[in-house]
């Protein structure tokens, strides 16, 4: 099965509303990264997380290594938040990230 499972697979949000994306891990994740791929295809790193939380503007992310999940909260969604969100996990022995399949987010007026 998927080592990093993202949910939901797709999401539509009205501008100004809030939502949360989730990643569940079946590997012993030690760090997590969240990325946004914009409609042109460029991937931007949003967060690098050890267990705990981080906040950046309207985005807030949490990583619980004991319960093996991470969340990305989007507050006051804007049109420019549209794109595909990927989470990825690293293990203590790994040199490489394991990526989820992505959540496609569309924000509409």
């Amino acid at each position: 099965g998927d080592k990093v499972k993202q949910s939901p697979s797709a999401l539509s949000l009205q501008e100004g509303t809030n939502s949360a994306l989730r990643c569940n891990f079946s590997i012993a994740a030690t760090t997590v990264q969240w990325f946004l791929q914009n409609p042109r295809g460029s991937l931007m790193n949003l967060f690098y997380l050890v267990p705990g939380t981080k906040e950046n503007g309207r985005l807030k992310s949490a990583f619980d290594s004991k319960e093996s999940y991470s969340t990305l909260h989007i507050r006051d969604a804007q049109l420019e938040d549209s794109g595909t969100y990927f989470c990825a996990a690293a293990t203590s022995s790994g040199q490489k990230l394991v990526f989820g399949q992505g959540t496609i987010l569309k924000v509409y007026l």
């Binding site: 760090t31 990264q33 990325f35 042109r40 295809g41 460029s42 991937l43 931007m44 790193n45 690098y48 990927f86 990825a88 690293a90 293990t91 790994g94 040199q95 490489k96 990230l97 990526f99 989820g100 399949q101 992505g102």
Partner: protein, 113 residues
């Protein structure tokens, strides 16, 4: 700030052709990666390199070669392009493997006719 540059941005090849994609970074990062992304899908790791002259196979290495002759550059070769193949190839780098944050290039879009 640094930058990671992929060339070319677009590549049109013919069936059976050997095609080379290049990636350069000026972050002085140790680790570099090549991923393939098919339309609407996630990222699949082709090759990665933890330091100059090192090569490690990913999940999708068959049909590809890679070369890390300098710390700052990592090239990927499609050994024999498949007809109607269409994908985006993404290069990334990190200071120290998966223990530090990844930075991605803007991608090379490949079309094989």
């Amino acid at each position: 700030g640094g930058i990671i540059t992929q060339t070319p941005k677009f590549l049109i090849g013919q069936e059976g052709q050997k095609l080379t994609l290049k990636c350069q970074q000026n972050f002085n990062h140790d680790t570099m990666y090549w991923y393939r992304q098919d339309s609407g899908k996630g990222l699949r790791l082709i090759y990665y390199s933890i330091t100059e002259n090192d090569l490690q196979k990913g999940d999708l290495s068959e049909g590809y070669d890679a070369s890390r002759e300098k710390k700052s550059s990592f090239s990927l070769t499609v050994t024999s392009a498949q007809k109607n193949e269409m994908a985006v190839f993404l290069c990334a780098s990190s200071r120290q493997g998966a223990a530090s944050d990844y930075t991605f290039g803007s991608g090379t879009r490949l079309l094989v006719i």
